[in-house]
Amino acid sequence: MSEQMSGVLPRGVTQKKFNAAVEKFRALLGEGNVLLKAEQLIPYNKIMMSVENAAHAPSAVLTATTVEQVQGIVKICNQYRIPIWTISTGRNFGYGTAAPVQRGQVILDLKKMNRIIKIDPEMCYALVEPGVTFQQLYDYIEENKLPLMLSFSAPSAIAGPLGNTMDRGVGYTPYGEHFMMQCGMEVVLANGDVYRTGMGGVKGSNTWQIFKWGYGPTLDGMFTQANYGITTKMGFWLMPRPPVFKPFEVIFENEADIVEIVDILRPLRMAQIIPNSVVIANILWEAGSAHLRRRDYTTEPGHTPDPILEKMQKDSGMGAWNLYAALYGTQEQVDVNWKIITDAFRKHGKGRIVTQEEAGHKQPFKYRAELMSGVPNLQEFGLYNWRGGGGSMWFAPVSEARGSECEKQALLAKRILHKYGLDYVAEFIVAPRDMHHVIDVLYDRTSEEETKRADACFNELLDEFEKEGYAVYRVNTRFQERVARSYGPVKRDVEHAIKRALDPNNILAPGRSGIDLDTYRTRRSAKSTASDES
């Protein structure tokens, strides 16, 4: 094989070492599973973040098909100090997509490990490999007429349970908090060991996907949003398909209604009267999802002014806030809960309740109902056409499920976004106690000026929210180091101590969630350096 010259190399790795590692990867995986050419790497570099693509350009992509190959890969990475960035289905749009956190990292794409290892329709769980998509699972369940229901993120069909759970993503059914429903992982550690969490270490155990905690420390969470291992299998619970599913929407005309909406909703969520991850989407999220485009309403630069939003509301029948929820169970259960819910909203007097019968096939109701009942669709990608230009970064602070808090966050976010000429495109995803306040920071990447503005805006959102004691639950790779700082130095020290213990050569995704042995100095080492110097 001729000597290869790469424009992009992993940090601190010479061309010679890189070439030697590539030769080993080829021997292990076969030529076709080691991608180096620019045209093979471009599809991994469609980032939507406010930096040049070059900042997140991979040096190579590897595809593996077996756990043994993954073990072989980490061995080579240790030998040549090659940093590796793992993706499963790789659809992490708005959080960095498939690109690595740092320029030059080698992507390990596990899309070819795509076996549904097991679905147990009685115990209602699945065990899958990383490349399995929700569509694959959906087809399997349909073909085999299994009485089960999936929960997935809005990119549903094309995304996958393992990758989504590794980033602690959410869905819209009663099983919408995906990490909560995860049960048992298999992880290849940096030293090549294969670790099974929970009951997975017990020889002959049939409870790996049944009982989460196992014995002693429960470590599953440690591998999510982290860089301590490469997950090669994951179990998760599936919801039994209920005999009756009743989706509904409640439309609110005024932005200020958010306070009452949340306060009415919280007790209903806490008592499991409404059991699913409810969504409260604002007018612009609705508009984007319904495939409306900003330029059909205004071509003025800057944020979309309120009078236009009001006109959109009037024209389309969408609300300032649009709540989507569903009931699941037997007819009797649904009837009882439906009465409680309609009484609560009627008493309040403001919301307009829309049932499936009333909505028919109207969007966005249709796709929302599908998401809440485990039917894949791609409708929400319409958000990308609201402004256009290919820039999208999720700003997703956690909020208490308390009306006044949601309003405070909404007003703060809107003020900052408008200051930078961008729109407040938002939804709240409602758990009993917390809300994921998800805002799509949409901007035009063809404009250098707007890209810089979006970057400054995102920084200010992080800064100003932090001042109020808020932080995001997940963030794109450009801002992961910044967000790690919001969570305090002790947490970071602990995370780096674990990293040193498990991955001393820093080969697994250095920089993921701000964990990077090369750049992070613990408070203790910083202090001792300071005292050495004095």
């Binding site: 790469s6 424009g7 992009v8 050419k37 620019a38 045209e39 093979q40 790497l41 471009i42 599809p43 991994y44 570099n45 469609k46 040049e52 693509n53 070059a54 350009a57 289905t89 790789g90 659809r91 749009f93 997509t97 498939a98 899309k111 569509q135 069909a157 094309i158 495939h291 330029r295 059909d296 071509t299 894949p376 669709n377 791609l378 409708q379 990608f381 319409g382 958000l383 990308y384 056409n385 402004r387 256009g388 230009g389 290919g390 035009d444 990447r445 063809t446 404009s447 250098e448």
Partner: protein
């Protein structure tokens, strides 16, 4: 520009909805057929607007052959069909101009199907000017310059930023001032022509004459090979 290499399009703007019609037939390009070397496109994916129509006309004119066309929407069935084609094991070259949503899906499906992407362009058109951000591989060498010459000839102002995947060089920045008033969808025809002949020696790009003004919008162009 040689008359042989020229074709004329007229755009009709009908109360917001725009269409482009070919006002006279296109002579097959003189000289070496553009598909003589390089990759020959086998399929064009487009949406339904005027820019997409201009893209298609540009591509057809430059390719000098029939170019099958698939109208794309963001619907699940359409995307799954496309994925099926990508995975059918037949070598295929796909070019296209789509809106942001559809293009995001198409490109990521291409990634997971193991496709190669030689050109990825993000384009914004608005009052009298266009902006282009390209991410390219070697096969597209020289295309950014060619496109900038075309955009300059079109008369609308433009900015063009080109990153070469895997290059240590900083992004190339090109720009041209507006020389004539409104501008047109010629930019899209130019890109269609470039992508249809990617990897061949540079050809002159077709000119599009439009009635009506440049239509604002945001688009993604690509050349995918499986």
């Amino acid at each position: 520009m040689s008359v042989d290499r020229r074709f004329v399009l007229k755009s009709m703007v009908l109360g917001g909805a725009a269409g482009v019609v070919l006002s006279r037939s296109v002579p097959v390009l003189a000289g070496v057929p553009p598909s003589h070397s390089g990759i020959r496109p086998a399929l064009a994916l487009v949406g339904s607007g005027a820019a997409e129509a201009a893209f298609l006309q540009g591509a057809r004119a430059a390719a000098g052959t029939e170019l099958p066309v698939q109208q794309m929407d963001r619907g699940l069935d359409c995307m799954l069909d496309f994925e099926h084609q990508l995975r059918a094991g037949r070598p295929m070259q796909v070019i296209g101009l789509l809106d942001d949503a559809a293009a995001t899906l198409v490109l990521d499906l291409a990634r997971s199907a193991g496709a190669r992407v030689h050109w990825l362009g993000q384009h914004t058109a608005e009052a009298g000017s266009t902006r282009h951000r390209l991410l390219n591989a070697d096969l597209a060498e020289g295309c950014a310059r060619q496109l900038s010459r075309h955009l300059h000839a079109c008369g609308a102002g433009f900015t063009l930023n080109e990153e070469r995947q895997g290059s240590v060089a900083p992004a190339r920045q090109l720009a041209g001032p507006a020389r004539s008033g409104a501008g047109s969808v010629q930019w899209a025809a130019g890109i269609g022509s470039l992508l249809a002949t990617l990897g061949t020696r540079p050809t002159m790009m077709p000119r599009v004459s439009v009635q009506g003004t440049l239509l604002s919008g945001s688009f993604v162009s690509f050349s995918i090979e499986v």
